[in-house]
Amino acid sequence: MSMRVNPNLYLDATDALSLTQSNEDQAMRQLSSGRRVNSPSDDPAAAAENVGVLYQMSANDTFQQNISSISGGLQTADSALNSAVNLLTQAISLGVQGGNSDLTDANRQQLAQEVQDIQSQLMSVANTSYQGNYLFAGTATSTQPYTSSPDPTDSSNAAIVTYNGDNNSTQAEISNGQFMQTNLPGSQLFSGTSSAFAALKNLSDALQSNGDVGSAITSLQTALQYVTGQRTFYGTALQQVQSTESFLNSDKVELSSEQNSLIGIDMDQAVTNMQQAEVARQAALAAASQIDQNSLLDYLK
């Protein structure tokens, strides 16, 4: 006698139906979400790596926002220094005029007054603020960096300008682990060594008292060179943020393509899977519908 077979074919059929249904569900879930990994258990390693990719993506976004907010400050500072250079150049030419021996006292007084005007204009340039922060106060950004007071020895002399900021600079992180200096304190630009304010006062005072205008001009030229030299810091910084920004943009593209290869689906593959699952399910359904339509009883009439 041949081996007895399982007479209850519904057992096979329900099993096949539930298997094909779960395959179809999975294919459908992948297609509709566009993702191969829909929960950590689908591919634990890829899900965990994706956490790292997401983390880098949000850091990348932050760096891009940082760059746009730093850029504004750098540009403002750069154009402030441009004005400073113009003002100093203007003062030098006033000094050269003042060196002319044909001038009367009144002419020199007039020139001294113009130099004093330049001094107060330079002061407002040095007090430039961006989004409520003084750009040239070092890290004391809420303290107005430059204030003036009358010269106690002679009130008709140019005012004495004092620096109230500190000598520190700030750093910003513009990409992962990449830090850049974002400011120069005023003490490295207008006061301190090669002080532009001191040179302007010297020139004004020399014009007023018919003193040594020539050496005042020399110190002003030194100050101009110094400010021009320091200005390159801002130019370089602006270039740096621009190149970092384009790096961040390409990194962003790379990260999202990495994410796609980690958890995304291959569309062709997913569609094929779906079709296969559908065919398998239809076959299982057709087979189930054929079960037990006949038994011996049908033939014993």
Partner: protein, 466 residues
């Protein structure tokens, strides 16, 4: 007249054959029904005049066609499958909380927290940026709180499940014990139904917990849990009890006063306990470690800085003194944006005697942002610790799912095998039906013939009836 009684015996045998066939057909869709067969044998012959006359058929017994080995294999596979299934069900809920690619999880709160400091560094005096730091810290803390809360809820549901499983196990054990009692009293003839019922109960019990079954000579079975605690012996059932463990608030399982919680294996009960004590418990404790590592490093760094008013920084987060429970209790200590210590420079006194606050100093904000690249959580960076947690969680669910699927396939396979032994086949029963019907008709014919012969003999050859 032997022929008449032989034919009567035949009718009775065919009738019982028909009755068994009818019972098989009626129970074709009954779960757990084992097909029955009639066992017939020849009656002992009569010796007469040197000849041996057969005396007909006798019905020996009605047996059910069962395969105990297959049944036990199904029980064993059911125990493993139910355990994996229970574990998978619970941990699938857990892993759905850690699905960062679908918008849940901790990654976004974690990066938001550190990024808020990176951003504050570009504009350390801005009160909107400072407020953003507080919001990001609050989001991080509340994400930890929510996750811990959800895990505690799942944990509480699993505790309820442990209690429900134990109750059901006790009820099944007492039903098995009572069937044992009936089986030890029943004769050999009519125990098939009781055996079917008992097999069904054992299979249900296997879904709940791992058991070992011993067949006794009196027809009873002894049932013990996987670790050997007796559940049923003879007609006697022993109950498992539950009690809340004061150390961790979990429901523990006891057999005769001994805590067998961690010794259990197999079935929904062990899977539930495994998910509760290992799955959910481990996840919660990793979350605590993560929260504590982030909070303590951030607090230390924040306290080293100076706020917008030049005051030394306070603790950023309020956390419990010990690590367990940190995730559910962590909160933000700082309320005012001014109190964020972005500056790393203490205030100085200027030439004119006024205090100069380095409010634009961002070095401490940068230092706090840089904590994300330091190994502050269990010897790892916070984000690496977290992504490992996700990987572990995913692997454990994926393993348990694979195991459950494999066991389910094994069960299906075994059930098909068992059905090929014990299942009712309509074709087979139809053949039996015809066979017994024809035999019955033939035996009846014999009686009719004998009847004719006898009347012929009594009426001396004159036929009296048709």
């Amino acid at each position: 007249m032997g022929s008449l009684s032989i034919a009567l015996g035949g009718l009775q045998a065919d009738e019982s054959g028909l009755s068994v066939t009818s019972n098989n057909i009626s129970n074709i869709n009954t779960k757990g029904y084992t097909r029955q067969v009639v066992e017939l044998s020849e009656q002992s012959p009569l010796e007469s005049g040197g000849l041996s006359y057969g005396t007909g058929v006798s019905v020996d017994k009605i047996t059910s066609v069962r395969d105990t080995i297959l049944e036990q294999n199904i029980d064993a596979a059911t125990q493993q499958q139910s355990q994996s299934q229970a574990y998978t069900n619970a941990m699938t809920q857990v892993q759905s909380m850690f699905n960062d690619s679908s918008g849940t999880g901790l990654q976004s709160a974690l990066s938001g927290f550190y990024n808020s400091f990176t951003q504050l560094a570009t504009n350390p005096t801005d009160s909107a940026e400072r407020q953003a730091v507080i919001s990001a810290a609050q989001t991080l803390a509340s994400t930890f709180n929510q996750m811990a809360g959800n895990l505690n809820n799942i944990d509480a549901n699993l505790d309820t499940q442990v209690g429900a499983d134990v109750q059901q196990i006790n009820s099944l054990a007492s039903q098995i014990a009572s069937l044992n009692g009936q089986l030890s009293q029943a004769g050999q003839q009519d125990n098939n139904t009781l055996l079917d019922q008992r097999d069904q109960l054992v299979q249900q019990l296997s879904g709940l917990t791992g058991v070992t079954i011993t067949n006794n000579s009196d027809g009873t079975i002894s049932v013990a849990t996987a670790n050997g605690s007796p559940l049923v012996s003879g007609a006697q059932a022993s109950t498992l009890t539950t009690a809340v463990n004061p150390a961790n608030g979990h429901v523990d399982v006891f057999a005769q006063g001994t805590d067998i919680t961690s010794a259990l294996s197999g079935g929904d009960l062990a899977g539930t306990i495994q998910a509760r004590d290992q799955g959910v418990g481990a996840t919660l404790s990793q979350l605590d470690t993560l929260a504590a590592g982030i909070a303590s490093s951030a607090n230390t760094a924040h306290e080293a800085g100076y706020d917008l008013n030049g005051n030394a920084g306070q603790a950023l987060f309020t956390v419990p003194s010990s690590v367990p429970g940190t995730a559910s209790a962590i909160s933000v200590n700082i309320t005012s944006p001014d109190e964020i210590a972005a500056s790393g420079t203490a205030p100085t006194i200027g030439d004119d005697g006024t205090t100069i606050t380095a409010s634009g100093d961002n070095s401490n904000a940068l230092a706090i942002a840089a904590l994300q690249n330091q190994d502050n959580v269990g010897g790892e960076k916070a984000i690496d610790y977290y992504s490992n947690l996700v990987a572990q969680l995913g692997s454990s669910v994926s393993q348990a799912t694979a195991n459950s699927t494999a066991q389910q396939a094994a069960i299906t396979q075994l059930q098909q095998q068992l059905s090929s032994v014990s299942g009712v086949s309509l074709d087979e029963e139809s053949v039996n039906l015809i066979q017994y019907q024809r035999a019955y008709q033939a035996s009846a014919q014999v009686i009719s013939v004998v009847n004719t012969l006898m009347s012929d003999a009594i009426n001396l050859g004159v036929s009296t009836s048709a």
